[in-house]
């Protein structure tokens, strides 16, 4: 069996460095398997977050050779093992320990987004009727597994650290799912233009490229949200109405 070297970042909020680990690799292994093997063999306290190991829970996000990836879906056969494989925590969030980051900001920011406000039920028994096409449009967004890789690559968060003025691609996808939900009657455009900071996105599409669920984040979620903001807030007639109403 072949042996490969993994350079894994070890440390905490105070700092850290890469440690080299060698382990045997076998057919079909993914990066997370290698990390687990190293953990069991030698680095017993190596911190890594994971759950499903099947690309469904979005827990094991990390940067593998500099690329934001789910470790459980990154196969070693797709990586050049002649060179050491570098594994480091995602960059857009503060490190807790080793490969684990504090992603709690995402959960706090999500709470600021107004929840679903469903229209009155369509039938007397309190149920709704929805067409499959209408449901399909939103189901793309609801595939999101909250791995936060899109948040990690977004330069507004990663490089400019504007976490307080911008909710990031994941939460735009969430907002889009609500805004385009067939039953929803809430209006979030004011928040989008204001504290959610949709205007900061300059459509570089980095988020779309890293999405493990292949959600077309920029084109299908963010751009339509930007258009909604423009339609409501920069429409001359509506601006006039708002002015007259003193809004």
């Amino acid at each position: 069996m072949a042996t490969a070297t993994f350079k894994i970042w070890r440390g905490d909020a105070k700092g850290g460095d890469y440690d080299d680990y060698q382990t045997e690799v076998s057919e079909g292994m993914v990066v997370l398997d290698a990390v687990h093997q190293i953990q069991a063999e030698k680095a017993h306290d190596l911190a890594v977050r994971w759950n499903c190991k099947a690309g469904k829970c979005g827990s094991c996000s990390a940067e593998v050779n500099g690329m934001p990836k789910l470790m459980c879906m990154t196969r070693l056969s797709d990586i050049n093992l002649d060179e050491p494989v570098t594994i480091q925590p995602v960059k857009a969030f503060p490190v807790i320990k080793d490969l684990v980051c504090d992603v709690s900001w995402n959960f706090r920011a999500k709470k600021k987004i107004k929840p679903l406000k469903p229209r009155k039920p369509d039938a007397a028994d309190g149920t709704w009727r929805m067409a499959q096409e209408d449901v399909d449009r939103v189901q793309e967004f609801r595939k999101c597994i909250e791995c936060f890789l899109c948040q990690d690559v977004c330069h507004v968060l990663r490089d400019h650290d504007l976490h307080e003025q911008f909710i990031g691609p994941r939460l735009f996808v969430y907002t889009a799912a609500l805004e385009m939900h067939p039953l929803d009657e809430e209006d979030r455009t004011g928040d989008l233009a204001g504290e959610f900071g949709v205007g900061y996105c300059n459509i570089t599409k980095c988020c779309t490229k890293v999405c493990p669920e292949d959600i077309t984040i920029t084109d299908n979620a963010i751009i339509p949200l930007k258009e909604r903001v423009v339609d409501t807030h920069y429409d001359p007639i509506r601006m006039l109405v708002r002015k007259l109403r003193g809004g």
Partner: protein, 605 residues
């Protein structure tokens, strides 16, 4: 004296999968202050992995369906060991719980007239599973999560509960440690709800993640609660078998519900070879009839691939054992064959089973629209759990409630696919409701400080135990998994079960001595050491219960007792901690079924 912080709430919910979230929402809506304590991040619990759907007799696809049929299907699937009152409540309330999710934002696939679409699944007489492609669990947990965060619930992510706290006979809280920092927290509560899920990690091949170490079962047991039906562990017939690193990952039953067939190495659909008497009337007698069934022909009967999971798993084992398996020790599951029947098969498969397509393509280089998958049984679910009152979900310990997979009773000897998602909604809600009522009727109480100090000392012991040469928890866990897989697996026999119990005793000795490196912050080595205690308790409970049931029924197969026994049909196996600390096993007679429910069973035969 140990250091810890104290949090006070009316109700503390442990576990944030579907049952925990639903319970927390209900308790909060009753006006209680609620803490939701979860081992991982919110939204990552195993519910997220559920694929096929949630069973509820909405009758949107087949108007003949109603709660009575669902009730009788559930009882038949459980071989009548189920708590019939739970099965009744479950069948009656599931439709409302599903419709309620829609109000909170869930978007299920639709029928032509815009109602919730339902699909076929093993053991369900009519198409009954509301679903979203093959990612129903994600839709459900996200809906509950996104609704729940606006209900004033305090969520404590990445907190692991190490013990329940008691004042006299009553449970009055839990002691947890916060993994991100390593600090201890006392959660004081008037009522505690266990919703910790399953025990799959006690086996080598499992669809479960690292979290499923039987915490709720073991903590409740230690607090004096009874466990019931622990011999019944569901081995899902279709897990991935190749490559080795993905062995055990689930392949949804939805593949078979949408026309997928099982074949052996000779190309034979072996499921036609052995159809149990209980299901003869309901099962197709030709591949052609089976195909008509999955296409929605109401006159046709189910293909044998949709027999209950226990039976399908055993048939697969038989094929492998008799040398007709696939190259890597499984059998073939083929959905690609439907291209002989429909013109847009590739597109259809990708639409109905997107995450299966993705999973096989990414992890095994298999295109399921073109070639068959290799599958074999994987430890998936435990039917057994903490024994609860059917109406209130309270355990035998006052103040302690349980719901979802960690509670026992609903599923009897075998769970039908789709009944777990409905289980956690129905009983999550009831647990939340009655825990809130209990909290209102009973004042605050707290555990003596010595109890907390002792628990903290016990949790920290692995840092001091063992010398530098002692082994870490990983090796012990690994050997425990081998023991359970090899000796307490799908097919059991007395001498192996006895050997397992003996080996578990030795593993307990090793577990006491494991070494922990590093410090308390986010230390999986330490966490693993703490998990071992729970895993040993539930493993022993499974092995002892299995040894006590001298028959083969549902998910429990004994080589030395291959048939069902009439005497065993009348009892549940109950496990509890004896006064001397040793595990006691009892056979408890099943209460006689109410006559109106009996009449339903007769009518549906």
């Amino acid at each position: 004296m140990a250091e810890y912080q104290t949090q006070e709430h009316d109700v503390v919910v442990i576990g944030a999968g579907g049952a925990g979230l639903r319970a927390a929402i209900e308790a909060a809506s009753a006006g209680c202050s609620v803490a939701l304590v979860c081992k991982s991040l919110l939204g990552k619990a195993h519910t997220v992995m559920a694929e096929g759907g949630v069973a509820a007799s909405l009758a949107n696809v087949d108007e003949r369906d109603n709660w009575r049929v669902h009730f009788s299907d559930t009882m038949r699937g459980g071989q009548y060991l189920n708590n019939w009152r739970m099965a009744e409540l479950h069948a009656q309330q599931a439709p409302d719980r599903v419709r309620e999710l829609e109000k909170w934002g869930a978007l299920f696939d639709r029928t032509k007239d815009g109602s919730i679409l339902q699909r076929n699944f093993g053991g369900h007489r009519y198409p009954r599973l509301a679903h979203v492609g093959d990612r129903t669990g994600l839709e459900m947990i996200r809906t509950l999560q996104d609704h729940g965060i606006h209900q004033g619930i305090d969520v404590f992510m990445e907190f692991t509960v190490v013990t329940l706290l008691k004042s006299g006979d009553r449970v009055v809280g839990a002691l947890a440690y916060d993994r991100e920092r390593g600090y201890f927290h006392e959660f004081r509560a008037k009522a505690v709800i266990m919703a910790t899920g399953g025990i799959g990690k006690a086996f080598r091949i499992t669809s479960n993640s690292w979290e499923y170490t039987g915490d709720g079962h073991a903590l409740a047991y230690d607090a004096g609660a009874e466990l019931v039906d622990m011999e019944f562990v569901q081995f899902h017939p279709t897990g991935m078998v190749w490559p080795p690193s993905v062995r055990g990952i689930l392949v949804t039953e939805g593949v078979r519900g949408d026309g997928g067939v099982l074949r052996n190495s000779e190309g034979r659909r072996f499921m036609f070879d052995d159809i149990p008497d209980l299901y003869k009337e309901q099962t197709a007698d030709s591949p052609e009839e089976g195909w008509r069934y999955v296409q929605g022909d109401k006159a046709a009967r189910r293909p044998p691939e949709l027999l209950t999971r226990d039976h399908v798993a055993r048939c697969i084992m038989r094929e492998v054992k008799e040398g007709r398996g696939s190259p890597h020790g499984g059998v073939f599951l083929d959905i690609a064959w439907i291209k002989e029947k429909i013109s847009n098969a590739e597109e259809h498969i990708k639409k109905k089973l997107p995450s299966m397509y993705h999973q096989f393509k990414k992890l095994a280089d298999i295109d399921i629209t073109k070639e068959p998958m290799e599958v074999g049984p994987t430890t998936h679910y435990v039917m057994g759990g903490v024994r609860v009152d059917a109406d209130t979900q309270m355990t035998t310990v006052p103040g302690l409630f349980a719901a979802g997979e960690c509670a026992g009773g609903l599923h009897g000897a075998n769970r039908l696919g789709g009944n777990s998602l409905s289980d956690l909604l129905v009983f999550g809600k009831l647990a939340g409701e009655y825990a809130a009522a209990f909290a209102k009727e009973n004042g605050a109480a707290e555990a003596p400080a010595e109890q907390i100090d002792a628990a903290i000392a016990n949790s920290l012991a692995p840092f001091d135990a063992g010398d530098a040469s002692a082994e870490a928890a990983y090796a012990v866990q690994h050997d425990l998994q081998d023991t359970m897989q090899d000796l307490v697996g799908i097919v059991r026999v007395e001498h192996e079960l006895k050997e397992a119990i003996e080996r578990l005793g030795k593993l307990r000795e090793r577990a006491r001595k494991v070494r922990v490196d590093g410090h308390r912050q986010y230390n999986p080595g330490w966490h693993g050491a703490l998990d071992l205690e729970n895993m040993l308790v539930i493993s022993e409970a499974v092995a002892r219960s299995a040894l006590d049931r001298n028959e083969s029924r549902g998910a429990h197969t004994r080589n030395d007792f291959p048939d069902k026994s009439e005497a065993c049909a009348k009892v549940n196996t109950v496990v509890r901690k004896g006064a001397d600390g040793a595990m006691e096993v009892q056979q408890r007679p099943i209460a006689e079924m109410r006559s109106d429910l009996q009449a339903i069973i007769e009518e549906m035969k």
